[in-house]
Amino acid sequence: MQSDSIHLSRRDALVKLLRVAGAGAGAAGLGLWLSKHSWRPEPALAMAAKRGHTIATDPKLPEMAVITGDDPAQLTRQAIEELGGIRRFIARGDIVLVKPNIGWDRTPEQAANTNPDVVAEVIRQCSNAGAKRVIVTDVSCNDPRRCFQRSGIAEAARLAGAEVVLPDPAMFKDVDLQGEILRVWPVLDLFLNADKIINVPIAKHHSLTGTTLGMKNWYGMLGGPRHLLHQRIHESLVDLADFVRPTLTIVDCYRILARNGPTGGNLQDVILKKTLVAGTDPVALDAYVAKAYWNLEVSSLPYLKMAANRGLGTYEFEKVRTQIKTL
């Protein structure tokens, strides 16, 4: 009977042993190396991206301009002109982020989003001043595709030559806001890389703070569970405003949403004011518009005083150099 065993030369046996030994050593080495890399997973360190976008004050120029007239684009032009012209704010080669309110699936007449003509004119001004890129974006509440389209802002901004960006989940970065109550939050990265930021909110009614104006517009740079912010809305507003510090704020009061804000929907809630309030002091602007259109005193808007204490501006808008004009 033939044996099943096969002849194995010494050489073959050695090679075989070496091969197994090599594989064994490799496995052991890999295991050792991996065992040294065992860490409890921790979220990546949030970046400290706080960055001012403000420009130097000029005592010869007004800090606030209140312009009334028929054409939103002309009002925008005039407001910027009164404040010293766009070249005061935008330098050649700047990356400019324009932040309108594009929060809701509403048409311009319903006054839940910023007037598209105002946004378009801001973009044109920035381009004329030689901005390298002008970006328009917002983290909408309703479906962004509908908000950007039905607000008319996407179309107007594109025609004016801006990049219109609908936020994508991949575009948020965890940032340490270094606020008193807001620390690590996901922020749309476009806000982190811009040289200049222009805030273009619309003035609307809001049940919690009475009105939603310029500082509340910064909610629209956050991702994450931002509905928690309402629980301490005044502190949140100040923390956000402290983080962003815009170059220029233009509060769109062409149509204001006087009731049932911030969503509105009913044309009966809209009041035509045909006014823009622009300026470099975000606190004074909010204080002025709240008083002018909702008759709200500073005492009923605690965030204004908190912001002033933080050095973000002054709530005593009467003391601010103001240019009021009707076209």
Partner: protein, 547 residues
């Protein structure tokens, strides 16, 4: 000029229709436009086109609603030529058939040589589809659209649209994410370009997630995998549309002519036979099983097979057994009464059975809905999901709104645009009526009513400011109103908060409050179906309108 081989033409036709189908499915999504600000948003393509050409959907719709909904008359374009030509639709057009055809073409361990030839002979079990057809059409007479469980386009849209494409989207985004975070700028650039191209072609605007998605996907994968055992098992044994087309091809004038003098029993005609219709010599041809793929004609080395009008040879028609036909009839008769004898249909409706805006009253809805998932695919907020138990067994895979995942967008009517059968009747923004004063609107569509769980609501239970639900409430005047109250917090301090209340005259049940509620796991405000405008009985208030 040489005319291309018919089988090549057939493959070309299959590819064209498959990609047309895929294109329309991928465009069953509102993608937004940066160049138009049309305030009334509609999809630019007729994305549910294939359903309009589906005679099975048309017949079911006609039997259950005694009418043909918008566009279903087009199905005659398929039905009538089938009467003359046979099941060309299955072999040349049907995208699900083409998928099965593609996966059948792989030779597997169990399907090679003699086994392959044997597996392609006509089998008795191929008649199963006729009994399924009988059962589902009889059920349709009793007023149900359950034929959509098996209708090939319903199956395809439901499986691919709600499971395969979302999974693909997830995988592609994950891979792109890894590449885009590469440390090498070159890889970043390339993946950026790739992202742009894929974004235009394939990627969804945002990652969709569907309830039951995994099960819909597994059923589909299982049906496709069956092809490795038996060529086109689905088409041969289960597809009710194939059965319907098989029955009407009884009178077809185009047929296979077998020339017995040329046949040397090589069986090669069986190698790539799709329908299992016995093109071999010595046995009669099973006309209703044939997909007209023409592989047998192509394969025959002796040129002994050809298709011709008025073939003059005897072929076997649909050969059904009386007992099984009776079983199918009985099953079809029984299914609707049985399903509706439970309390869930009549007296104890599921509180979360929230139907899309425009949906007909439940009885009419179930009669028309073919569970195809078009509405779920198109919903921009991912709010519509296939039901598992909310609508009873009969309502399996019908659409339900899940506000915690997504609410119904105020001005959106896309689900009613794509619904192929009128289960969700086509409505306009004006008819939906949410952009005006709801209490004064003519007849706003209400999906249900919101309720507060005061034990979980922050201003009610935790003396904490919130009002996010009120902020999001899209009606004007708002359906959620606030009352300021003094509360004592845990440290004994007095504190003023605003507590939310609901005004049913303005609530439309859109679910925005539930969606936005910061109490993440079980929201403190939720919508139930009571007060839905489509139902006369599922109501709370005598008069919901003001004034």
């Amino acid at each position: 000029m040489r005319f291309p081989k018919p089988t090549k033409l057939r493959t070309l036709s299959q590819i064209v229709f498959f990609f047309l189908f895929l294109f329309l499915l991928l465009r069953t999504e509102f993608r937004g436009s940066l160049t138009a600000s049309a305030s009334e948003i509609r999809l630019p393509y007729p994305v549910s086109l294939f359903f309009q050409f589906d005679p099975l959907v048309a017949i079911s719709n006609a039997l259950s609603s005694h009418a043909l909904y918008r566009g279903l008359l087009w199905s005659m374009v398929v039905l009538i030529p089938t009467m003359f030509l046979g099941r060309f639709f299955c072999g040349w057009i049907c995208p699900l058939g083409s998928i099965h055809h593609f996966f059948s073409s792989f030779i597997s361990e169990r399907k090679r040589g003699k086994q392959l030839i044997d597996s392609n002979r006509y089998k008795r079990w191929q008649t199963t589809k006729y009994y399924l057809l009988i059962a589902s059409l009889v059920a349709a007479v009793f007023g149900t659209g359950i034929v959509g469980w098996l209708d090939p386009f319903s199956l395809l849209v439901r499986s691919v649209g709600l499971s395969i494409l979302p999974a693909t989207n997830h995988a592609l985004r994950a891979s792109l994410g890894v590449l885009e975070h590469s440390r090498y700028p070159f890889v970043q650039t390339v993946s950026g370009a790739l992202h742009f191209i894929l974004g235009a072609l394939l990627l969804s605007f945002k990652q969709p997630h569907f309830r039951l998605g995994i099960w819909l996907g597994l059923i589909f994968v299982f049906l496709v995998a069956l092809n490795f055992r038996i060529t086109r098992f689905w088409c041969r044994a289960l597809c009710p549309l194939g059965a319907l087309l098989g029955i009407v091809s009884r009178w077809s004038v185009l047929g296979l002519v077998k020339n017995p003098e040329h046949c040397n029993d090589c069986n090669r005609c069986l190698l790539r036979c799709q329908g299992g219709d016995d093109p071999i010599g010595g046995v009669p041809w099973h006309q209703p099983e044939c997909h007209l793929c023409l592989n047998c004609v192509d394969e025959c080395p002796e040129h002994g097979l050809r298709f011709q009008f008025f073939p003059g040879q005897k072929a076997v028609g649909v050969n059904l057994q009386r007992r099984k036909v009776l079983t199918g009839l009985a099953a079809g008769v029984a299914v609707v009464p049985l399903a509706r004898s439970t309390s869930g249909f009549a007296t104890e409706r599921h509180e979360r059975l929230l139907r899309p805006p425009g949906a007909l009253d439940e009885e009419y809805f179930l009669a028309r809905c073919i569970r195809c998932g078009e509405c779920m695919k198109v919903c921009p907020n991912n709010a519509l999901h296939p039901a598992f138990s909310e609508a009873g067994i009969e309502g399996l895979w019908t659409p339900v709104l899940v506000p915690r995942i997504g609410y119904c967008e105020t001005s959106c009517v896309l689900c009613s645009q794509v619904c192929p059968t009128g289960a969700i009747w086509e409505i306009t923004e004006r008819e939906k009526g949410w952009s005006v004063d709801v209490a004064r609107a003519d007849k706003p569509i209400r999906l249900g009513t919101a309720f507060y769980d005061r034990g979980r609501c922050l201003p009610w239970a935790m003396a904490t400011e919130c009002i996010v639900c009120e902020e999001w409430c899209p009606t004007s005047p708002k359906a959620i109103y606030l009352q300021p109250v003094e509360m004592i917090d845990a440290t004994g301090n007095s504190k003023q908060v605003k507590q939310p209340y609901l005004d049913p005259s303005h609530c439309v049940g859109c679910g925005a409050c539930e969606y936005a509620c910061p109490v993440q796991d079980r929201p403190a405000v939720y919508v139930t179906s009571v007060g839905e405008s489509r139902s006369r009985t599922n109501q709370i208030l005598l008069n919901r309108r003001k004034g």
